[in-house]
């Protein structure tokens, strides 16, 4: 214990002896650590946002379809909903809720224009799990699952050149694969964050839609959990209960977003490696100088009986102390920046570009404790490794030669 205090004491005094040069190095470390944490927090923020918006936008954490539905989304690829079985399949899971829907392509005709869109039959009471419950509405929402009126997105309404309260005609295939034209009254107009959603999704009551299409089936069940990420076990449990259906997690439903999500984990480590790699040059340079100019001093220490182990420990300790100081400042600085950016960075100038990547136009940073710990652990390891070579030089020289130096 005494030895440790001696080493620490000597190291700190040595650092203070050369405060000017050391403070520049601390600034470099601060910059590096702060830069890594801030950038990582943005990347993580983006990642979290991607998952949240995907999960919220109707896909949920787990989604079930009849086989072949994804290739041929139509009423013929439906399945009979058994609510009790669904409830049983999610028993014990942290479920926020689940919703059964019908999603089929349809052609929409107003008095003047024709457009293609997806017609979605929902049970409004169950859509608390999706973005549908957060829509800003003009007019009314759907009252119940047997409401046979429609909700149309603002952008689609404008393209169709029609108005709230007017009728539109939707052409779609019924349960037997036969084309059917159905008239709907527009009960509400919704504004969503994503313009492509406004253009492509039209909502009506599920039971009402089943009646219109002579069907008693649904095309999907979407399950939303209370946690941000679904665990593999949760997913397996549901899959086992429905062997006859395609049970997909959000990553399978949204492969692009999933790919980006997974790439991000790699990017974070590459970035950390690059920054610390750049830092190593400055660190080694400073430490070698600090050792070489004190060769005489080290010779003296050893001449009076200090063991070489302690000298090595002293050099390593100096390096680690410098690093810890830099880390403390860097972490503090990055938290300040985080607080400053907390409300999000406005990316609305890139709205379409970020939407393509599944992000929202407000980018909020998110600091993940695990990332900060990795940065701290790796940089302290680096400080030890980088000081080892200079420290060994310090004790390799014969004490007599060192004293004459």
């Amino acid at each position: 214990m005494n030895t440790f205090r001696l080493v620490l004491n000597l190291s700190l005094r040595n650092l203070w002896r050369q405060r000017r040069r050391n403070s520049i190095l601390v600034v470099a470390i601060t910059f590096a650590i702060g830069g890594v944490i801030v950038l990582n927090s943005m990347i993580r923020g983006m990642q979290v946002q991607m998952v949240d918006s995907v999960v919220e936008n109707l896909s949920g954490h787990i989604k079930m379809h009849a086989p072949n539905y994804r290739d041929d989304p139509s009423m013929e690829r439906g399945f009979v909903l058994d609510p009790i079985r669904v409830d049983e399949s999610v028993e014990g899971l942290p479920v926020l809720g689940w919703a059964a829907r019908i999603t089929i392509p349809a052609v929409i005709m107003s008095e003047r224009e024709t457009r293609g869109a997806s017609l979605i039959g929902i049970d409004p009471d169950r859509e608390l799990i999706s973005v549908v419950s957060n829509f800003k509405l003009e007019g009314e929402g759907l009252e119940s699952t047997s409401d046979s009126r429609v909700l149309v997105g603002r952008s689609l309404l404008e393209e169709l050149r029609t108005k709230l309260g007017r009728r539109i005609v939707l052409t779609t295939l019924d349960a037997d694969g036969i084309s059917k034209e159905i008239g709907f009254r527009i009960v509400g107009v919704y504004d969503a964050e994503s313009e492509s959603m406004e253009k492509s999704l039209v909502f009506t009551g599920r039971t009402a839609l089943q009646e219109l299409l002579n069907s008693s089936e649904v095309t999907e069940v979407s399950i939303r959990l209370k946690t941000r990420y679904a665990k593999q076990e949760d997913f397996d449990q549901v899959r086992k209960s429905f062997p006859e259906l395609d049970v997909l997690d959000w990553q399978q439903v949204n492969p692009i977003v999933a790919f980006m999500y997974n790439t991000v984990n790699l990017v974070i480590y590459i970035w950390l490696g690059i920054v610390l790699g750049a830092l190593v040059f400055g660190l080694v340079n400073t430490l070698i100088t600090a050792v070489l100019e004190r060769i005489h001093e080290f010779g003296l220490f050893r001449a009076v009986g200090m063991r070489s182990r302690i000298i090595v420990a002293q050099v390593i300790c100096e390096s680690v102390c410098l690093m810890i100081l830099g880390i403390a400042l860097g972490v503090a600085g990055s938290f300040l920046i985080y607080a400053w950016l907390y409300d999000g960075i406005d990316l609305s100038a890139f709205a379409e570009g970020v939407e393509m990547m599944g992000m929202s136009s407000q980018m909020k940073p998110a600091i993940v404790a695990h990332d900060v710990l990795v940065v701290v652990a790796v940089s302290i390891t680096l400080a030890v490794v980088a000081s080892f070579y200079p420290a060994r030089r310090a004790v390799r020289m014969n004490p007599l030669d060192a004293l004459r130096h």
């Binding site: 040069r21 293609g116 393209e159 694969g177 790919f259 990547m357």
Partner: protein
């Protein structure tokens, strides 16, 4: 010349430090160059692939068509317009396209789709669709159609079948055509494969009473990354009711993601440069302290502060050149093979999205003046500033103090 010689020798007085500092410069130059060359190499192919599946490089269309596409918003006399456009320099293809949203029927089944009328002889010069036909052939008669693979499956259509497409003509009356399917295309982009039908322009123009009009006059140019140059040449030919748009306006998601990529990478390069420059500044300050007595001696024998500072700057520049040389050497070694072979999208697991995100099969790093100069110049400026900062001491210390200085 003497000062260069002295500076060079000074550098090698502390060989390890010089090499480490130059190494830091080389490391930063290498990383920034690798990153920038891949960026530079990926944007143009990405634009090229996406424009050939969608907008083309430039388009002439009715002024209101982009915001609110309607059948009656067309550009007329397009054959004549096309031949005038082709006479202009820098233009390598022009293709007229008619568009209409239609209901595609086969027996009892029907789906909505975007029906695009193209000139079968001309359009392949401006788009990739003719290469993507996986079954049947690209248009075999004036009354044929090619249709996306997912749409074909959903409609239960195979090559040779007749489909009926219902749409509305310029007056708002119902119009229909009944082409036979000559080919089925598969682009890998779900939206295209699910909801696009192409027919000969003559067929759909007759049905919609559009004569020689088109909704999009698609222009392909030699320099897609610099559409402004061609825009200037084309503008005089644009009819008064029409406007000229480039791919950045037609596909904002592509140009925005390129800009976003440039900004975020700029932040990364900037941080890297600052860290390296700070490390170097630290080294310079150390050097200054070590050499205090040397300055004293030099000044005692009559050298001016200015000349000593000049010597330092020369040392810095030599060290910078050494570092940049190391960086160039390493990045040349890394880039030479890559420029020829490229990196396949499959090696990054990206091939599954190639169609979806309009990515090329391989990207090849591209080296331009910016790639070569940005990193060395910004680090060089940082190094010169650091030298100035470290040299303040030179001017503050008196001759006697400098000579008496002990480390």
């Amino acid at each position: 010349m003497l000062s260069v010689k002295v500076a060079w020798r000074n550098l090698w007085r502390n060989r390890r430090r010089t090499l480490l500092t130059a190494g830091a410069v080389g490391f930063a130059v290498l990383l920034v160059q690798l990153g920038m060359s891949f960026q530079a190499g990926s944007y143009e192919p990405m634009v090229e692939v996406s424009t050939r599946f969608a907008s083309g490089h430039l388009q002439i269309q009715h002024v209101d068509y982009k915001d609110d596409p309607r059948t009656e918003r067309f550009v007329s006399n397009t054959t004549e317009l096309r031949s005038h456009l082709l006479d202009l320099p820098g233009i390598n293809a022009v293709s007229n396209r008619t568009e209409s949203f239609g209901l595609v029927n086969k027996d009892e089944r029907s789906y909505g789709a975007l029906v695009v009328g193209v000139d079968p002889q001309i359009d392949p010069s401006a788009s990739h669709f003719s290469d993507q036909v996986t079954q049947g052939t690209y248009f075999d008669s004036p009354n044929s159609a090619i249709i996306g693979s997912a749409l074909a499956r959903n409609l239960r259509v195979s090559v040779g079948d007749e489909i009926v497409i219902l749409s509305t003509d310029v007056d708002g009356s119902v119009a229909f055509i009944a082409p036979s399917v000559s080919g089925i295309f598969e682009t890998g982009n779900d939206a295209l494969d699910r909801s696009l039908v192409q027919v000969p322009r003559s067929l759909i123009n007759d049905a919609l009473m559009l004569e020689d009009s088109a909704h999009r006059v698609v222009i392909m140019i030699d320099q897609p990354m610099l559409p402004e140059q061609s825009s200037e040449v084309i503008t005089p030919l644009v009819p008064s009711t029409a406007s000229l748009l480039d791919w950045r306006e037609l596909m904002p998601e592509i140009s925005q993601s390129i800009r976003l990529d440039k900004i975020s990478n700029g932040i990364v390069y900037g941080t890297l440069t600052v860290i390296v420059v700070l490390s170097i500044a630290n080294t310079f300050v150390m050097t200054m302290f070590e050499r205090t007595r040397e300055f004293g001696t030099l000044r005692a024998v009559g050298m001016h502060n200015r000349s000593i500072f000049g010597m330092f700057i020369t040392e810095t520049i030599l060290m910078w050149m050494l570092g940049v040389a190391i960086g160039y050497l390493l990045s040349t070694c890394a880039l030479l093979p890559l420029i020829n072979i490229g990196i396949g999208m499959d090696s990054m697991g990206m091939d599954q999205f190639a169609g979806l995100l309009f990515l090329p099969d391989r990207i090849y790093p591209a080296v331009d003046l910016k790639v070569v100069l940005v990193a060395p110049i910004s680090i060089g400026v940082g190094m010169v500033l650091s030298t100035m900062l470290a040299s303040i001491r030179l001017y503050r210390l008196s001759l006697v103090d400098a000579l008496r200085y002990r480390e």
